[in-house]
């Protein structure tokens, strides 16, 4: 683990040095902040514990309701995100962007459903309290083309990849007692497509809006809870759309 951390640090330093050369060719450099949201962070959050309660598609299939039982729908998660970005434009049309984002679930993911306590035998439903949470830290690096429209607007399309780290937790609490928890951590390198627009309020300041699509996940991770008598397995899925709005400071241009 230490070896990996050292290797990553060295690679980052090398990248920084390597970047200083091309940056001299940049016609515009900017730094900005964005806030936004991501629907369904972590995808359907499926894990092997879901299979044991007869659910095949994670949080999507977790909901069941029946007269006489006090259930509450478990909504898909909504992630709120914030981040910083550093962008460079070379020769007016060539665009590169490095960003750092933090996304965490702020809505949904909690409720009460039903499960069959003894599948195959007579139908005996029991309530089950469910709770899901996730946070994701990612750093996408993309490159592409920027299309300026006079000095008022610039729209950039870029593609690349991100380093993404996720931390996903779930918890299932049957009415009859006990709690089955899952905790998963891992990283991956999802592919990234990005479109971002700048509306310039002045030469130095622009309002930005961006739309990114990530595709990728971790490999299968093992549950890190050891004391609940249940070993769970899950992927952390980074796939999904991210929308953000913010402002950028164009501190260098020529």
């Amino acid at each position: 683990m230490r070896c990996n951390a050292t290797a990553i640090m060295r690679a980052a330093i090398l990248l920084l040095f390597a970047a200083t050369g091309p940056l001299r060719a940049a016609t515009s450099l900017s730094v900005g902040m964005q806030a936004g949201f991501m629907p369904s962070p972590g995808g359907n959050l499926h894990s092997s514990t879901h299979e044991t309660i007869g659910v095949r598609n994670g949080i999507d299939g977790i909901n069941r309701s029946l007269d006489g039982y006090d259930t509450e729908p478990v909504d898909r998660l909504l992630g709120a995100s914030g981040g910083i970005e550093f962008r460079a434009v070379f020769y007016d049309y060539f665009f590169a962007r490095l960003a750092g984002n933090f996304t965490m679930a702020v809505w949904g993911g909690a409720g009460t459903t039903l499960y069959d306590t003894d599948p195959g035998a007579p139908f005996v439903p029991e309530t089950l309290e469910c709770d899901y949470s996730i946070y994701i830290i990612d750093a996408p690096l993309t490159a592409g083309l920027a299309v300026p429209f006079w000095k008022d607007v610039r729209i950039a399309f870029s593609v690349g990849a991100a380093f993404a780290y996720g931390n996903y937790k779930n918890s299932f609490k049957p009415e009859s007692g006990g709690t089955y928890k899952g905790k998963f951590r891992g990283y991956g390198f999802p592919l990234v497509l990005l479109v971002e627009g700048d509306y310039f309020l002045s030469e130095k300041l622009s309002v930005t809006a961006s739309l990114a699509y990530y595709r990728g996940s971790t490999d299968i991770r093992k549950d890190r809870y050891r004391t609940d008598g249940d070993t769970d397995y899950a992927r952390i899925d980074f796939t999904g759309y991210r929308f953000g709005m913010g402002a950028s400071w164009h501190f260098y241009s020529r």
Partner: protein
């Protein structure tokens, strides 16, 4: 944990609104520059309504395709815009489960119609005096009704859902007051369990309606103000 998340959610959106208001106040000349309100009419389509293969991976499905008829309202405040409206989706091609490998959930056919009420906020990117691109995020509320055939019987289903998504669009100026527009919406929304389709003895409601998907809209907008 739940209360903490709700607390974060409650404080985030007022801050975002205050931040947007501050931007507008900081640049009053921009805010005063272009304010207009348009009313539009559009048609469009939504493919794979219900996302049945996501609901059950053992289904081989001919997906439902719906056409959309809607009215939109777009208010521009220079670089910011607010876009809302009403979209009604009618089944054009009904969903058909061609092969069902799951004997515990014998769905055969489905047909879902829905009404969507979206609200997006975002940034306009004007292109000279030709038109504009725009990109925004927001919420949508859905009300659906339909029929599902399972185990040889046809039942009606109704459901509601709140979703989140984005809009990316472009407008082309035809005249001073009329613009053509094309929009791409993606909204992620799923209802709670609304109907029992599981084979006996399982008696609970298990089927939900997944409204998630891409919608393409084409229309004409009249700028009255």
């Amino acid at each position: 944990m739940i209360s903490a998340r709700i607390h974060i959610s409650g404080s985030l959106f007022p801050r975002l609104a205050a931040w947007c208001a501050a931007l507008v106040l900081l640049f009053p000349s921009y805010a005063a520059a272009q304010r207009n309100l348009g009313v539009g009419f559009h048609v469009g389509a939504h493919h794979d309504v219900g996302n049945m293969t996501s609901y059950n991976s053992q289904f081989e499905v001919e997906p439902q395709t719906s056409y959309i008829v809607g009215v939109s309202f777009k208010a521009n405040l220079d670089f910011l815009f607010l876009r809302t409206g009403v979209d009604i989706a009618f089944p054009l091609i009904e969903g058909d489960v061609l092969e069902n490998g799951d004997a515990t959930d014998p769905i055969e056919k489905y047909s879902i119609g829905y009404t969507g009420l979206p609200l997006f906020v975002g940034v306009n990117f004007p292109v000279f005096d030709i038109g504009e691109f725009y990109l925004g995020g927001g919420i949508a509320y859905f009300l659906a009704t339909g029929t599902v055939t399972h185990g040889g019987t046809e039942d009606t289903i109704s459901a509601t859902a709140l979703g989140f998504g984005f809009i990316a669009g472009m407008q082309l100026h035809v005249s001073a007051k009329i613009r053509l527009y094309m929009e791409w919406e993606y909204i992620d929304a799923r209802s709670g369990a609304s109907m029992n389709t599981a084979a006996a003895p399982t008696a609970w409601d298990n089927l939900y309606i997944d409204f998630s998907g891409h919608r393409i809209l084409l229309g004409v907008m009249y700028y009255a103000m």
